[in-house]
């Protein structure tokens, strides 16, 4: 039996084929050029955001940055991180053969889906990873409303 030509089905099939090719390309590139960062255009420093009902924990990869050079600010629902990573002083006659590591100043802001209790924010720096704990403001937490039987 000849299958009737259904345009949308054709389109769907092409889409699937494109998706497959895309995955194939990703896989290929991943294996040839594994990068520390998957999303190469990500600004320095890369951040991960973890959440639960109580708040969020932001982990930041900032290796080689003196914790005193880091400045964390919290206003409302926004976290701002500023800092700098400067080149080490090189001795006379030294020259770079390769330079891949980020150098310079950075500033990043992150908006969270809740108001942060700025008073209880904590930050810790260990092995080049900055961990910022951002508790959700009490007033921002959802309230459970009991439905009263009439």
């Amino acid at each position: 039996m000849i299958e009737p030509f259904v345009p949308w089905r054709e389109i769907r099939r092409m889409e699937r084929e494109m998706e497959r090719m895309e995955r194939e390309m990703d896989r290929l590139f991943e294996s040839f050029f594994p990068r520390r960062r998957r999303f190469m255009e990500v600004e320095f420093p890369p951040m991960n955001v973890w959440t639960n009902e109580e708040g969020a924990v932001v982990t930041v990869e900032v290796p080689g940055v003196n914790p005193e050079q880091l400045e964390i600010a919290v206003v409302g629902d926004t976290l701002t991180l500023r800092g700098k990573r400067l080149a080490d002083d090189l001795p006379e006659g030294a020259r770079y053969q390769r330079r891949e590591r980020f150098q310079g100043e950075f500033a990043r802001s992150l908006q969270l889906p809740f108001t942060i209790d700025a008073e209880r924010v904590e930050a810790q720096y260990e092995n080049g990873i900055l961990t910022i704990t951002l508790p959700r403001a009490e007033a921002d937490k959802p309230k459970r409303i009991t439905v009263q039987a009439a």
Binding site: F32, R35, V49, Y96, Q97
Partner: protein, 132 residues
Amino acid sequence: MAEETRALQVREETRPAHVERARRVFAPAVDIVETHEDIWVLADMPGVNQDNVEVTLEKNVLTIRGRVQGPTLEGYTLDYAEYEGGDYERTFTLTEDIDREKIEATMKQGVLHLRLPKAGPARVRRIPVKAV
């Protein structure tokens, strides 16, 4: 770019890319600095401490490896990610004689500082030329 003598070559073609025990392995970003006496390798390995780093030199192949714990946070869901967890590994080929006994490696704030002292002139083997 002007052609320079490269004392330390990065082995791009052998960048590891295997999923080992369901863990990813990444090539850390590196700076390579050469001075008259030494070659310095600085590698960004956030999450790695002094005990989880390994530097090996076999023949002229230098390998740096770092193991990372996590990242998992008990009771939290990862909502947004710009970096992935995984170990670090990168391989270099040395083209210059290195004083293997004096290699120094330190981990500082998630950065590996590797000092590779060049072998002194005394260590250069002279081949006598015989007069016929």
